[in-house]
Protein backbone atom coordinates (compact mmCIF):
# COMPACT_ATOMS: atom_id res chain seq x y z
CA UNK A 1 0.00 0.00 0.00
CA UNK A 2 1.16 3.52 -0.77
CA UNK A 3 1.37 4.82 2.77
CA UNK A 4 2.79 8.19 1.76
CA UNK A 5 -0.25 8.75 -0.47
CA UNK A 6 -2.60 7.79 2.36
CA UNK A 7 -0.80 10.07 4.79
CA UNK A 8 -0.96 12.93 2.25
CA UNK A 9 -4.69 12.39 1.67
CA UNK A 10 -5.41 12.40 5.39
CA UNK A 11 -3.33 15.54 5.85
CA UNK A 12 -5.12 17.24 2.98
CA UNK A 13 -8.56 16.18 4.23
CA UNK A 14 -7.89 17.37 7.79
CA UNK A 15 -6.49 20.73 6.67
CA UNK A 16 -9.31 21.27 4.17
CA UNK A 17 -11.89 20.51 6.85
CA UNK A 18 -10.28 22.94 9.30
CA UNK A 19 -10.20 25.68 6.68
CA UNK A 20 -13.81 24.95 5.76
CA UNK A 21 -14.83 25.24 9.42
CA UNK A 22 -13.19 28.65 9.65
CA UNK A 23 -14.59 29.87 6.33
CA UNK A 24 -17.82 27.91 6.16
CA UNK A 25 -19.36 28.93 9.50
CA UNK A 26 -19.23 32.69 8.81
CA UNK A 27 -20.31 32.11 5.22
CA UNK A 28 -23.27 29.94 6.26
CA UNK A 29 -24.17 32.48 8.95
CA UNK A 30 -24.15 35.22 6.34
CA UNK A 31 -26.25 33.19 3.91
CA UNK A 32 -28.86 32.45 6.58
CA UNK A 33 -29.10 35.82 8.32
CA UNK A 34 -28.12 38.43 5.74
CA UNK A 35 -30.97 40.50 4.40
CA UNK A 36 -29.02 41.07 1.14
CA UNK A 37 -31.15 40.40 -1.92
CA UNK A 38 -28.29 39.07 -4.03
CA UNK A 39 -27.21 36.38 -1.60
CA UNK A 40 -28.66 33.74 -3.95
CA UNK A 41 -25.66 34.48 -6.17
CA UNK A 42 -23.29 33.50 -3.38
CA UNK A 43 -25.35 30.40 -2.66
CA UNK A 44 -25.13 29.41 -6.34
CA UNK A 45 -21.38 29.90 -6.44
CA UNK A 46 -20.93 27.84 -3.28
CA UNK A 47 -23.05 25.05 -4.78
CA UNK A 48 -21.29 25.04 -8.19
CA UNK A 49 -18.83 22.22 -7.37
CA UNK A 50 -21.82 19.91 -6.90
CA UNK A 51 -22.65 20.05 -10.61
CA UNK A 52 -19.39 21.09 -12.26
CA UNK A 53 -17.07 18.34 -13.58
CA UNK A 54 -14.00 18.29 -11.30
CA UNK A 55 -11.77 18.80 -14.33
CA UNK A 56 -13.52 22.06 -15.16
CA UNK A 57 -13.17 23.31 -11.60
CA UNK A 58 -9.57 22.08 -11.52
CA UNK A 59 -8.80 23.83 -14.80
CA UNK A 60 -10.06 27.19 -13.57
CA UNK A 61 -8.28 26.83 -10.24
CA UNK A 62 -5.08 25.95 -12.08
CA UNK A 63 -5.39 29.05 -14.25
CA UNK A 64 -6.32 31.23 -11.27
CA UNK A 65 -3.33 30.19 -9.14
CA UNK A 66 -0.89 29.89 -12.03
CA UNK A 67 1.70 32.43 -13.16
CA UNK A 68 -0.74 33.88 -15.69
CA UNK A 69 -3.05 35.31 -12.99
CA UNK A 70 -2.24 38.33 -10.78
CA UNK A 71 -3.00 36.21 -7.70
CA UNK A 72 -0.64 33.47 -8.80
CA UNK A 73 2.15 35.97 -9.56
CA UNK A 74 1.66 37.77 -6.23
CA UNK A 75 1.82 34.46 -4.35
CA UNK A 76 4.94 33.39 -6.22
CA UNK A 77 6.64 36.68 -5.39
CA UNK A 78 5.84 36.36 -1.67
CA UNK A 79 6.40 32.62 -1.24
CA UNK A 80 9.25 32.18 -3.66
CA UNK A 81 7.50 29.43 -5.61
CA UNK A 82 4.28 29.02 -7.57
CA UNK A 83 1.11 27.37 -6.29
CA UNK A 84 0.41 24.75 -8.97
CA UNK A 85 1.65 21.25 -8.16
CA UNK A 86 2.15 22.08 -4.46
CA UNK A 87 0.26 21.08 -1.31
CA UNK A 88 -0.97 24.67 -0.86
CA UNK A 89 -2.38 24.75 -4.39
CA UNK A 90 -4.07 21.44 -3.73
CA UNK A 91 -5.53 22.83 -0.52
CA UNK A 92 -7.07 25.84 -2.28
CA UNK A 93 -8.66 23.57 -4.88
CA UNK A 94 -9.93 21.15 -2.22
CA UNK A 95 -11.50 23.89 -0.14
CA UNK A 96 -13.42 25.21 -3.13
CA UNK A 97 -14.36 21.72 -4.27
CA UNK A 98 -15.71 20.65 -0.85
CA UNK A 99 -17.26 24.00 0.05
CA UNK A 100 -20.91 22.98 -0.54
CA UNK A 101 -20.46 19.86 1.57
CA UNK A 102 -19.66 22.04 4.57
CA UNK A 103 -21.65 25.23 3.97
CA UNK A 104 -24.94 23.61 3.03
CA UNK A 105 -25.34 21.43 6.15
CA UNK A 106 -24.19 24.36 8.31
CA UNK A 107 -26.69 26.74 6.73
CA UNK A 108 -29.57 24.26 6.84
CA UNK A 109 -29.00 23.67 10.53
CA UNK A 110 -28.60 27.35 11.39
CA UNK A 111 -31.82 28.14 9.56
CA UNK A 112 -33.72 25.47 11.47
CA UNK A 113 -33.06 27.09 14.86
CA UNK A 114 -36.37 28.52 16.09
CA UNK A 115 -36.33 32.25 15.47
CA UNK A 116 -38.14 32.90 18.75
CA UNK A 117 -35.11 31.53 20.61
CA UNK A 118 -32.99 34.18 18.90
CA UNK A 119 -35.51 36.87 19.82
CA UNK A 120 -35.56 35.67 23.42
CA UNK A 121 -31.77 35.85 23.49
CA UNK A 122 -31.65 39.37 21.99
CA UNK A 123 -34.25 40.57 24.50
CA UNK A 124 -32.07 39.17 27.28
CA UNK A 125 -29.30 41.50 26.14
CA UNK A 126 -27.18 39.10 24.08
CA UNK A 127 -25.76 40.57 20.87
CA UNK A 128 -26.28 38.82 17.57
CA UNK A 129 -22.79 37.35 17.70
CA UNK A 130 -23.22 36.24 21.29
CA UNK A 131 -26.60 34.72 20.42
CA UNK A 132 -24.95 32.85 17.57
CA UNK A 133 -22.29 31.51 19.89
CA UNK A 134 -24.52 30.67 22.84
CA UNK A 135 -27.69 29.49 21.08
CA UNK A 136 -27.25 28.81 17.36
CA UNK A 137 -23.95 26.91 17.47
CA UNK A 138 -24.91 24.58 20.36
CA UNK A 139 -28.21 23.80 18.65
CA UNK A 140 -26.47 23.16 15.33
CA UNK A 141 -24.00 20.52 16.51
CA UNK A 142 -25.47 17.87 14.26
CA UNK A 143 -25.27 20.05 11.16
CA UNK A 144 -21.71 21.00 12.04
CA UNK A 145 -20.69 17.37 12.48
CA UNK A 146 -22.38 16.44 9.21
CA UNK A 147 -20.57 19.22 7.36
CA UNK A 148 -17.21 18.30 8.89
CA UNK A 149 -17.58 14.60 8.12
CA UNK A 150 -18.78 15.17 4.58
CA UNK A 151 -15.99 17.61 3.71
CA UNK A 152 -13.44 15.22 5.17
CA UNK A 153 -14.78 12.25 3.23
CA UNK A 154 -15.22 14.23 0.05
CA UNK A 155 -11.65 15.55 0.14
CA UNK A 156 -10.31 12.09 0.91
CA UNK A 157 -11.83 10.73 -2.29
CA UNK A 158 -11.27 13.54 -4.76
CA UNK A 159 -9.47 12.76 -8.00
CA UNK A 160 -10.10 15.06 -10.96
CA UNK A 161 -9.36 18.33 -9.24
CA UNK A 162 -6.21 16.94 -7.63
CA UNK A 163 -4.96 15.67 -10.95
CA UNK A 164 -5.54 19.00 -12.65
CA UNK A 165 -4.05 21.21 -9.96
CA UNK A 166 -1.55 18.97 -8.23
CA UNK A 167 -0.42 16.53 -10.81
CA UNK A 168 1.17 13.35 -9.50
CA UNK A 169 4.22 14.13 -7.40
CA UNK A 170 4.90 11.36 -4.83
CA UNK A 171 4.66 12.67 -1.27
CA UNK A 172 3.61 16.13 -2.45
CA UNK A 173 0.48 15.82 -4.50
CA UNK A 174 -0.06 12.12 -5.09
CA UNK A 175 -3.18 11.35 -3.07
CA UNK A 176 -4.81 7.99 -2.43
CA UNK A 177 -7.11 8.08 -5.41
CA UNK A 178 -4.27 8.95 -7.77
CA UNK A 179 -2.12 6.26 -6.28
CA UNK A 180 -4.88 3.74 -7.03
CA UNK A 181 -5.13 5.04 -10.58
CA UNK A 182 -1.34 4.67 -10.94
CA UNK A 183 -1.43 1.16 -9.57
CA UNK A 184 -4.08 0.13 -12.07
CA UNK A 185 -2.15 1.78 -14.92
CA UNK A 186 0.89 -0.30 -14.02
CA UNK A 187 -1.30 -3.43 -13.67
CA UNK A 188 -0.55 -3.69 -9.90
CA UNK A 189 -4.08 -4.89 -9.12
CA UNK A 190 -3.14 -6.25 -5.68
CA UNK A 191 -2.01 -2.83 -4.43
CA UNK A 192 -4.98 -1.09 -6.09
CA UNK A 193 -7.47 -3.44 -4.47
CA UNK A 194 -5.92 -3.08 -0.98
CA UNK A 195 -5.99 0.70 -1.12
CA UNK A 196 -9.45 0.76 -2.68
CA UNK A 197 -10.83 -1.50 0.02
CA UNK A 198 -9.37 0.75 2.70
CA UNK A 199 -10.93 3.81 1.11
CA UNK A 200 -14.25 2.01 0.72
CA UNK A 201 -14.35 0.97 4.37
CA UNK A 202 -13.35 4.41 5.65
CA UNK A 203 -15.90 6.16 3.45
CA UNK A 204 -18.65 3.75 4.46
CA UNK A 205 -17.88 4.19 8.16
CA UNK A 206 -17.88 7.96 7.84
CA UNK A 207 -21.22 8.04 6.03
CA UNK A 208 -22.75 5.58 8.48
CA UNK A 209 -21.81 7.88 11.33
CA UNK A 210 -23.23 10.90 9.54
CA UNK A 211 -26.57 9.34 8.69
CA UNK A 212 -27.02 7.84 12.13
CA UNK A 213 -26.42 11.30 13.55
CA UNK A 214 -28.94 12.86 11.21
CA UNK A 215 -31.55 10.25 12.02
CA UNK A 216 -30.70 10.82 15.67
CA UNK A 217 -30.47 7.10 16.28
CA UNK A 218 -28.30 7.70 19.31
CA UNK A 219 -29.38 11.14 20.43
CA UNK A 220 -32.63 12.01 22.11
CA UNK A 221 -34.95 14.09 19.98
CA UNK A 222 -34.17 17.74 20.38
CA UNK A 223 -37.71 19.01 20.75
Amino acid sequence: MDWSAIWLSVRLAVTTTLVLLAVGIPLAYWIVYSPARWKFLVESIVALPLVLPPTVLGFYVLVAIGPLSPFGRAYARVAGHGLPFTFEGLLIASVLYSMPFAVQPFATEFASVDRRLLEASWSLGASRLETFRRVVIPLSVRGLVTGIVLSFAHTLGEFGVVLMVGGNLPGVTRTVSISIYDAVQSLDYASASRTSLLLLIVSFLILTCTYSLQRSVWLKPRR
Binding site: R116, A120, S123
Partner: protein, 400 residues
Protein backbone atom coordinates in the same frame (compact mmCIF):
# COMPACT_ATOMS: atom_id res chain seq x y z
CA UNK B 1 -31.35 58.29 33.28
CA UNK B 2 -34.23 57.31 35.49
CA UNK B 3 -33.54 53.68 36.28
CA UNK B 4 -36.13 51.68 38.15
CA UNK B 5 -34.72 50.58 41.47
CA UNK B 6 -37.27 48.04 42.64
CA UNK B 7 -35.90 47.14 46.01
CA UNK B 8 -34.57 50.57 46.85
CA UNK B 9 -36.56 53.79 46.97
CA UNK B 10 -39.88 54.22 45.22
CA UNK B 11 -39.16 55.00 41.60
CA UNK B 12 -41.51 57.26 39.72
CA UNK B 13 -43.96 56.29 37.02
CA UNK B 14 -42.54 56.31 33.51
CA UNK B 15 -44.50 57.24 30.45
CA UNK B 16 -44.76 54.90 27.53
CA UNK B 17 -45.25 56.80 24.31
CA UNK B 18 -46.14 54.82 21.20
CA UNK B 19 -47.03 56.35 17.84
CA UNK B 20 -46.35 53.84 15.11
CA UNK B 21 -47.44 53.11 11.56
CA UNK B 22 -46.95 49.84 9.83
CA UNK B 23 -48.43 48.56 6.61
CA UNK B 24 -48.57 44.89 5.71
CA UNK B 25 -48.64 43.27 2.29
CA UNK B 26 -52.11 41.97 3.12
CA UNK B 27 -53.39 45.56 3.24
CA UNK B 28 -53.74 45.50 7.03
CA UNK B 29 -52.33 48.66 8.56
CA UNK B 30 -51.36 49.53 12.10
CA UNK B 31 -51.73 53.10 13.22
CA UNK B 32 -51.36 52.94 16.97
CA UNK B 33 -51.16 55.97 19.26
CA UNK B 34 -50.70 55.44 22.96
CA UNK B 35 -49.50 57.51 25.92
CA UNK B 36 -49.66 55.77 29.27
CA UNK B 37 -47.93 56.45 32.57
CA UNK B 38 -46.76 53.11 33.94
CA UNK B 39 -46.44 52.97 37.70
CA UNK B 40 -43.83 50.56 39.10
CA UNK B 41 -45.41 47.12 39.34
CA UNK B 42 -48.50 48.12 37.41
CA UNK B 43 -49.90 46.44 34.34
CA UNK B 44 -51.13 47.84 31.04
CA UNK B 45 -53.36 45.46 29.12
CA UNK B 46 -53.38 45.62 25.34
CA UNK B 47 -56.83 44.25 24.73
CA UNK B 48 -58.57 43.52 21.48
CA UNK B 49 -59.94 40.85 19.16
CA UNK B 50 -57.49 38.55 17.41
CA UNK B 51 -55.68 40.05 14.40
CA UNK B 52 -56.10 43.55 15.84
CA UNK B 53 -52.36 44.15 15.78
CA UNK B 54 -51.74 43.73 19.51
CA UNK B 55 -48.80 41.39 19.13
CA UNK B 56 -47.21 43.55 16.44
CA UNK B 57 -47.35 46.62 18.67
CA UNK B 58 -45.85 44.63 21.54
CA UNK B 59 -43.06 43.36 19.27
CA UNK B 60 -42.34 46.89 18.15
CA UNK B 61 -42.03 47.97 21.77
CA UNK B 62 -39.65 45.04 22.33
CA UNK B 63 -37.60 46.07 19.30
CA UNK B 64 -38.23 42.77 17.53
CA UNK B 65 -40.10 44.50 14.74
CA UNK B 66 -39.51 47.86 13.15
CA UNK B 67 -42.44 50.16 12.40
CA UNK B 68 -42.51 51.79 8.95
CA UNK B 69 -42.77 55.17 10.64
CA UNK B 70 -43.24 56.54 14.11
CA UNK B 71 -41.70 56.79 17.54
CA UNK B 72 -41.54 54.72 20.71
CA UNK B 73 -40.34 56.25 23.94
CA UNK B 74 -40.19 54.92 27.48
CA UNK B 75 -39.46 57.45 30.18
CA UNK B 76 -36.46 59.44 29.00
CA UNK B 77 -35.31 56.76 26.54
CA UNK B 78 -36.12 56.99 22.86
CA UNK B 79 -36.26 53.46 21.52
CA UNK B 80 -37.37 54.34 18.03
CA UNK B 81 -37.88 57.54 16.13
CA UNK B 82 -37.98 57.22 12.38
CA UNK B 83 -37.89 60.98 11.80
CA UNK B 84 -34.51 61.16 13.56
CA UNK B 85 -33.30 57.75 12.44
CA UNK B 86 -33.16 56.45 16.00
CA UNK B 87 -33.41 52.70 16.43
CA UNK B 88 -32.36 50.90 19.58
CA UNK B 89 -32.06 47.13 19.10
CA UNK B 90 -33.79 44.82 21.59
CA UNK B 91 -30.44 44.19 23.33
CA UNK B 92 -30.27 47.75 24.63
CA UNK B 93 -33.90 48.22 25.66
CA UNK B 94 -33.70 46.16 28.89
CA UNK B 95 -37.13 44.66 28.41
CA UNK B 96 -38.19 41.17 29.40
CA UNK B 97 -40.28 39.29 26.87
CA UNK B 98 -42.46 36.25 27.50
CA UNK B 99 -44.09 34.64 24.48
CA UNK B 100 -47.15 32.43 24.24
CA UNK B 101 -44.90 29.35 24.12
CA UNK B 102 -42.10 29.04 26.69
CA UNK B 103 -39.26 29.29 24.06
CA UNK B 104 -36.63 28.17 26.53
CA UNK B 105 -33.15 27.35 25.27
CA UNK B 106 -33.42 23.57 24.90
CA UNK B 107 -29.70 22.92 25.34
CA UNK B 108 -29.51 24.74 28.68
CA UNK B 109 -30.78 23.69 32.09
CA UNK B 110 -33.46 25.66 33.88
CA UNK B 111 -30.76 27.37 35.95
CA UNK B 112 -28.73 28.30 32.87
CA UNK B 113 -31.87 29.56 31.16
CA UNK B 114 -32.79 31.80 34.08
CA UNK B 115 -29.25 33.15 34.35
CA UNK B 116 -28.84 33.66 30.61
CA UNK B 117 -29.52 37.40 30.69
CA UNK B 118 -27.47 38.14 33.80
CA UNK B 119 -24.05 39.50 32.88
CA UNK B 120 -20.91 39.27 34.92
CA UNK B 121 -19.34 42.51 35.88
CA UNK B 122 -16.40 43.62 33.74
CA UNK B 123 -13.04 42.11 34.65
CA UNK B 124 -11.60 45.31 36.06
CA UNK B 125 -13.87 45.01 39.07
CA UNK B 126 -12.37 43.04 41.96
CA UNK B 127 -15.79 41.66 42.91
CA UNK B 128 -16.01 39.60 39.72
CA UNK B 129 -14.92 36.03 39.50
CA UNK B 130 -17.54 34.41 41.67
CA UNK B 131 -19.58 32.31 39.32
CA UNK B 132 -22.35 31.39 41.72
CA UNK B 133 -23.32 34.57 43.55
CA UNK B 134 -25.47 37.22 41.94
CA UNK B 135 -24.66 40.08 44.23
CA UNK B 136 -21.92 41.13 41.85
CA UNK B 137 -23.73 41.05 38.57
CA UNK B 138 -24.96 43.91 36.53
CA UNK B 139 -27.86 44.57 34.24
CA UNK B 140 -26.96 43.62 30.67
CA UNK B 141 -25.91 46.39 28.36
CA UNK B 142 -25.62 48.94 31.15
CA UNK B 143 -23.84 52.12 30.29
CA UNK B 144 -20.20 51.76 31.16
CA UNK B 145 -19.53 53.06 34.61
CA UNK B 146 -23.12 52.58 35.65
CA UNK B 147 -23.13 49.33 37.52
CA UNK B 148 -26.43 48.03 38.64
CA UNK B 149 -26.27 45.35 41.27
CA UNK B 150 -29.06 42.82 41.51
CA UNK B 151 -29.07 41.31 44.98
CA UNK B 152 -28.75 37.57 45.02
CA UNK B 153 -31.94 37.11 46.96
CA UNK B 154 -34.11 38.59 44.23
CA UNK B 155 -33.50 35.78 41.72
CA UNK B 156 -34.15 33.34 44.54
CA UNK B 157 -37.31 35.22 45.47
CA UNK B 158 -38.56 35.15 41.90
CA UNK B 159 -38.00 31.40 41.79
CA UNK B 160 -39.73 31.00 45.14
CA UNK B 161 -42.84 32.94 44.09
CA UNK B 162 -43.04 30.79 40.97
CA UNK B 163 -42.33 27.59 42.86
CA UNK B 164 -39.57 26.45 40.51
CA UNK B 165 -36.68 26.17 42.98
CA UNK B 166 -36.56 22.39 42.61
CA UNK B 167 -36.40 22.37 38.82
CA UNK B 168 -33.05 24.08 38.34
CA UNK B 169 -31.12 21.08 37.04
CA UNK B 170 -33.79 19.94 34.60
CA UNK B 171 -33.77 20.54 30.88
CA UNK B 172 -36.73 22.34 29.29
CA UNK B 173 -38.01 19.17 27.59
CA UNK B 174 -38.65 17.67 31.04
CA UNK B 175 -40.95 20.54 32.07
CA UNK B 176 -44.72 20.81 31.83
CA UNK B 177 -46.28 23.74 29.97
CA UNK B 178 -46.94 25.66 33.17
CA UNK B 179 -43.44 25.02 34.53
CA UNK B 180 -41.91 26.07 31.21
CA UNK B 181 -43.81 29.33 31.23
CA UNK B 182 -42.77 29.95 34.85
CA UNK B 183 -39.13 29.45 33.93
CA UNK B 184 -39.58 31.79 30.96
CA UNK B 185 -41.00 34.41 33.34
CA UNK B 186 -38.12 33.97 35.76
CA UNK B 187 -35.65 34.23 32.87
CA UNK B 188 -37.27 37.46 31.67
CA UNK B 189 -37.31 39.01 35.15
CA UNK B 190 -33.88 37.85 36.38
CA UNK B 191 -31.86 40.61 34.63
CA UNK B 192 -34.27 43.16 36.17
CA UNK B 193 -35.84 44.58 32.99
CA UNK B 194 -37.28 48.07 33.10
CA UNK B 195 -40.41 46.75 31.40
CA UNK B 196 -41.91 43.27 31.11
CA UNK B 197 -43.75 42.39 27.88
CA UNK B 198 -46.18 39.47 27.99
CA UNK B 199 -47.65 38.18 24.73
CA UNK B 200 -50.63 36.02 25.79
CA UNK B 201 -48.33 34.00 28.06
CA UNK B 202 -51.18 32.07 29.67
CA UNK B 203 -53.18 31.23 26.55
CA UNK B 204 -51.69 27.77 26.03
CA UNK B 205 -52.19 26.67 29.64
CA UNK B 206 -55.05 24.83 31.32
CA UNK B 207 -57.43 26.93 33.39
CA UNK B 208 -56.22 26.14 36.95
CA UNK B 209 -52.60 26.73 35.94
CA UNK B 210 -53.59 29.92 34.17
CA UNK B 211 -55.37 31.29 37.23
CA UNK B 212 -52.44 30.43 39.52
CA UNK B 213 -49.91 31.92 37.16
CA UNK B 214 -51.87 35.18 36.83
CA UNK B 215 -51.66 35.63 40.58
CA UNK B 216 -47.94 34.79 40.62
CA UNK B 217 -47.22 37.32 37.86
CA UNK B 218 -49.08 39.99 39.79
CA UNK B 219 -47.07 39.17 42.94
CA UNK B 220 -43.82 39.23 41.00
CA UNK B 221 -44.51 42.63 39.45
CA UNK B 222 -45.13 44.05 42.89
CA UNK B 223 -42.06 42.32 44.31
CA UNK B 224 -39.73 43.57 41.62
CA UNK B 225 -41.47 46.87 40.90
CA UNK B 226 -41.42 46.10 37.19
CA UNK B 227 -44.19 47.61 35.08
CA UNK B 228 -45.66 45.25 32.50
CA UNK B 229 -47.65 45.18 29.29
CA UNK B 230 -49.93 42.20 28.72
CA UNK B 231 -51.43 41.30 25.36
CA UNK B 232 -54.67 39.36 25.71
CA UNK B 233 -58.08 38.87 24.13
CA UNK B 234 -59.47 37.31 27.31
CA UNK B 235 -61.69 39.83 29.09
CA UNK B 236 -61.48 37.97 32.41
CA UNK B 237 -57.72 38.20 32.21
CA UNK B 238 -57.84 41.89 31.32
CA UNK B 239 -60.14 42.59 34.28
CA UNK B 240 -58.22 40.46 36.75
CA UNK B 241 -54.74 41.66 35.85
CA UNK B 242 -54.97 45.08 34.29
CA UNK B 243 -54.64 48.46 35.93
CA UNK B 244 -54.92 50.33 32.67
CA UNK B 245 -56.37 48.92 29.48
CA UNK B 246 -55.81 50.02 25.89
CA UNK B 247 -58.34 48.68 23.40
CA UNK B 248 -56.86 47.91 20.01
CA UNK B 249 -59.23 47.30 17.10
CA UNK B 250 -58.20 47.12 13.46
CA UNK B 251 -54.68 48.31 14.20
CA UNK B 252 -55.79 51.43 16.06
CA UNK B 253 -55.85 52.21 19.76
CA UNK B 254 -59.50 53.10 20.26
CA UNK B 255 -59.65 53.75 23.99
CA UNK B 256 -57.25 53.95 26.91
CA UNK B 257 -58.13 54.21 30.57
CA UNK B 258 -58.52 52.49 33.93
CA UNK B 259 -59.96 49.01 33.46
CA UNK B 260 -63.31 49.69 35.13
CA UNK B 261 -63.85 52.91 33.15
CA UNK B 262 -63.13 51.34 29.79
CA UNK B 263 -65.23 48.24 30.44
CA UNK B 264 -68.16 50.23 31.85
CA UNK B 265 -68.03 53.11 29.44
CA UNK B 266 -66.81 51.97 26.02
CA UNK B 267 -66.35 55.04 23.86
CA UNK B 268 -68.26 53.69 20.89
CA UNK B 269 -70.20 50.70 19.60
CA UNK B 270 -67.21 48.90 18.04
CA UNK B 271 -65.34 49.00 21.35
CA UNK B 272 -68.47 47.93 23.22
CA UNK B 273 -68.84 44.93 20.90
CA UNK B 274 -65.26 43.82 21.43
CA UNK B 275 -65.42 44.30 25.20
CA UNK B 276 -68.93 43.01 25.80
CA UNK B 277 -71.29 45.62 27.18
CA UNK B 278 -71.29 45.49 30.90
CA UNK B 279 -71.13 47.74 33.89
CA UNK B 280 -67.83 47.16 35.67
CA UNK B 281 -67.33 48.85 39.03
CA UNK B 282 -64.69 48.30 41.68
CA UNK B 283 -65.92 46.96 45.00
CA UNK B 284 -64.78 45.19 48.13
CA UNK B 285 -66.10 41.94 49.59
CA UNK B 286 -67.91 42.68 52.83
CA UNK B 287 -69.15 39.32 54.06
CA UNK B 288 -70.64 36.04 52.93
CA UNK B 289 -73.93 34.48 54.01
CA UNK B 290 -76.04 31.66 52.58
CA UNK B 291 -73.74 31.43 49.58
CA UNK B 292 -74.27 35.09 48.81
CA UNK B 293 -71.29 37.39 48.70
CA UNK B 294 -71.98 40.89 49.89
CA UNK B 295 -69.93 43.52 48.08
CA UNK B 296 -69.60 47.14 49.05
CA UNK B 297 -69.56 49.45 46.05
CA UNK B 298 -69.02 52.89 47.41
CA UNK B 299 -71.92 53.56 49.79
CA UNK B 300 -74.21 50.84 48.44
CA UNK B 301 -73.86 47.11 48.74
CA UNK B 302 -74.96 44.37 46.38
CA UNK B 303 -75.36 40.62 46.79
CA UNK B 304 -73.79 38.28 44.30
CA UNK B 305 -74.15 34.51 44.04
CA UNK B 306 -70.68 33.07 43.59
CA UNK B 307 -69.88 29.38 43.47
CA UNK B 308 -66.39 29.88 44.88
CA UNK B 309 -66.07 31.64 48.22
CA UNK B 310 -64.14 34.91 48.12
CA UNK B 311 -62.39 36.02 51.32
CA UNK B 312 -63.54 39.17 53.06
CA UNK B 313 -61.98 42.45 52.05
CA UNK B 314 -60.94 41.16 48.61
CA UNK B 315 -60.94 43.86 45.94
CA UNK B 316 -63.24 42.78 43.13
CA UNK B 317 -64.80 44.10 39.96
CA UNK B 318 -68.58 43.89 40.03
CA UNK B 319 -69.79 43.13 36.50
CA UNK B 320 -73.44 43.61 35.58
CA UNK B 321 -74.79 43.20 32.06
CA UNK B 322 -77.29 45.91 31.08
CA UNK B 323 -79.71 43.19 29.86
CA UNK B 324 -79.88 41.77 33.41
CA UNK B 325 -81.03 45.00 35.03
CA UNK B 326 -84.80 45.43 35.32
CA UNK B 327 -86.48 48.64 36.34
CA UNK B 328 -89.41 49.12 38.67
CA UNK B 329 -91.11 52.42 39.22
CA UNK B 330 -91.23 53.92 42.68
CA UNK B 331 -90.53 51.96 45.85
CA UNK B 332 -89.77 48.26 45.65
CA UNK B 333 -91.77 45.36 47.00
CA UNK B 334 -90.55 41.81 47.60
CA UNK B 335 -89.43 40.00 44.45
CA UNK B 336 -87.11 37.15 43.49
CA UNK B 337 -84.33 39.56 42.58
CA UNK B 338 -81.97 39.98 45.54
CA UNK B 339 -80.82 43.46 44.74
CA UNK B 340 -83.13 46.46 44.73
CA UNK B 341 -81.25 49.67 44.32
CA UNK B 342 -82.91 53.07 44.41
CA UNK B 343 -81.70 54.92 41.35
CA UNK B 344 -81.97 58.15 39.47
CA UNK B 345 -82.38 58.14 35.67
CA UNK B 346 -79.46 60.11 34.24
CA UNK B 347 -80.09 59.75 30.53
CA UNK B 348 -81.90 57.61 28.00
CA UNK B 349 -80.42 56.65 24.62
CA UNK B 350 -82.55 55.13 21.88
CA UNK B 351 -81.08 52.11 20.13
CA UNK B 352 -83.83 51.00 17.74
CA UNK B 353 -86.64 49.25 19.61
CA UNK B 354 -84.43 49.14 22.70
CA UNK B 355 -83.67 52.00 25.03
CA UNK B 356 -80.48 52.21 27.03
CA UNK B 357 -81.14 53.84 30.39
CA UNK B 358 -78.17 55.18 32.28
CA UNK B 359 -78.77 55.22 36.02
CA UNK B 360 -77.08 56.59 39.07
CA UNK B 361 -77.58 54.25 42.01
CA UNK B 362 -74.47 55.26 43.94
CA UNK B 363 -72.44 54.02 41.00
CA UNK B 364 -73.10 54.29 37.28
CA UNK B 365 -75.32 51.47 35.96
CA UNK B 366 -76.78 50.82 32.53
CA UNK B 367 -80.06 49.02 31.85
CA UNK B 368 -81.59 48.13 28.51
CA UNK B 369 -85.39 47.92 28.31
CA UNK B 370 -87.88 47.92 25.48
CA UNK B 371 -89.37 51.20 24.36
CA UNK B 372 -92.81 50.02 25.44
CA UNK B 373 -91.63 49.36 29.01
CA UNK B 374 -90.03 52.74 29.06
CA UNK B 375 -93.33 54.32 28.01
CA UNK B 376 -95.31 52.28 30.56
CA UNK B 377 -92.92 53.24 33.34
CA UNK B 378 -93.03 56.80 32.10
CA UNK B 379 -89.26 57.14 32.40
CA UNK B 380 -87.47 60.38 31.78
CA UNK B 381 -84.19 61.82 32.99
CA UNK B 382 -84.52 62.75 36.63
CA UNK B 383 -87.12 60.05 37.38
CA UNK B 384 -86.73 57.98 40.56
CA UNK B 385 -86.77 54.20 39.95
CA UNK B 386 -85.63 50.95 41.52
CA UNK B 387 -83.08 48.85 39.68
CA UNK B 388 -83.53 45.13 40.33
CA UNK B 389 -80.70 42.70 39.68
CA UNK B 390 -80.69 38.99 40.45
CA UNK B 391 -77.74 37.92 42.55
CA UNK B 392 -76.96 35.27 39.93
CA UNK B 393 -76.57 37.98 37.29
CA UNK B 394 -73.85 39.76 39.18
CA UNK B 395 -70.45 38.46 38.26
CA UNK B 396 -67.46 39.13 40.47
CA UNK B 397 -63.86 39.23 39.18
CA UNK B 398 -61.32 39.26 42.03
CA UNK B 399 -58.54 41.73 41.30
CA UNK B 400 -55.05 40.29 41.53
Amino acid sequence: MAEAAPLGGRPAARTLHVAVDQRFASGFAIDARLDVALEPGSMLVLFGPSAAGKTTVLRQIAGLERPDAGAIRFGDDTWCDTTQGVWRPPQSRHVGVVFQEPTLFPHLTVRENIHYGIRVRPRSDPASGSASGFGDRVRPGSDPGQTWVRPHRTVAEIEKVLGIEGLEDRYPRALSGGEGQRVALARALAPDPQLLLLDEPFAALDLPTRLRLRREVRTLLQLTGTPAILVTHDRGEALAMGDVVAVLIGGRVRQVGPVSDVFSRPADAAIATSLGIETVVPGRVDGTSDGLVRVAVGAVSVDAAERDPIPNDTAVYVCIRAEDVTLESGASGPASARNHLPALVVSIAHEGPIDRVTLDCGFGLDAVITRRSREELNLAPGAQVTAAIKATSIHLVPRL
